[in-house]
Amino acid sequence: MIYDLPARDDPVDQGDIIDGCPVLRISQFSVRDLLLEVADSLEIEGAFSRVVVLTQTCDLANQKTTIATVALVRDAEQLVRQGLLKAADVRGPIRAGRVFGWYFLPKSDEHGLPESIVDLYPLHAVRLDLLTALCQHGRRRARVQPLYREHLSKHFADTYSRIGLPQPYATE
């Protein structure tokens, strides 16, 4: 089983897929105001989104943090409909875990999850008590289970630890 659904009062853990998490981004700013450290022109937009928790289980279990790192969980079919991906890309390299920064999560009728792609590039830091409140009110869809959870974590680490050379080494 890839997914499980913990009880509502179960603490937030790595691999939790949670709906309705407010995800924010700066949509407008003025360079002048930034340099003056004035917030007048800063505009922030946001959406209540499905996210997956990436913070390591040990940090959450030891209550070492009050902030969790989450990534957006995108509906794969919607990305295909938007023309951003081809269905063959999803079935092929993305599903096989061969694209840095994108992690495929399979469909689960039981948990109401479509085939999804975790976008590991825009990361968000969210208050842990906010995520806990969402879970307590039934917004946790599922939890990615061990092995798959570690597989996701490894993909996350690989995405940020890789070093791309400007060009391949010359060979004769």
């Binding site: 450290e37 390299p93 694209v99």
Partner: protein, 83 residues
Amino acid sequence: MSIALHDALQDVDLQVGQTYSVEVKGRWVELRVLADGPTLQTAEGPMLDPWVEFPPPTPQFRLRAKPGPLALPDPPHLPADDV
């Protein structure tokens, strides 16, 4: 495979396991005949970089920022025997 290519190969005597090469309009085309369907892509292939940036979710609300103090960082956890 496109329908046109599928149609073009309909009458060709293709033997399983064979690889055929042919020049078409100045370009060399190689055709491998597999016993089964395409092999399933596995994690053993080369890693790829993403070729597109997903747009952010459609905004559902907008906020105006206000200046304020930064939250304090979480205190580091030091094992007792290190203190």
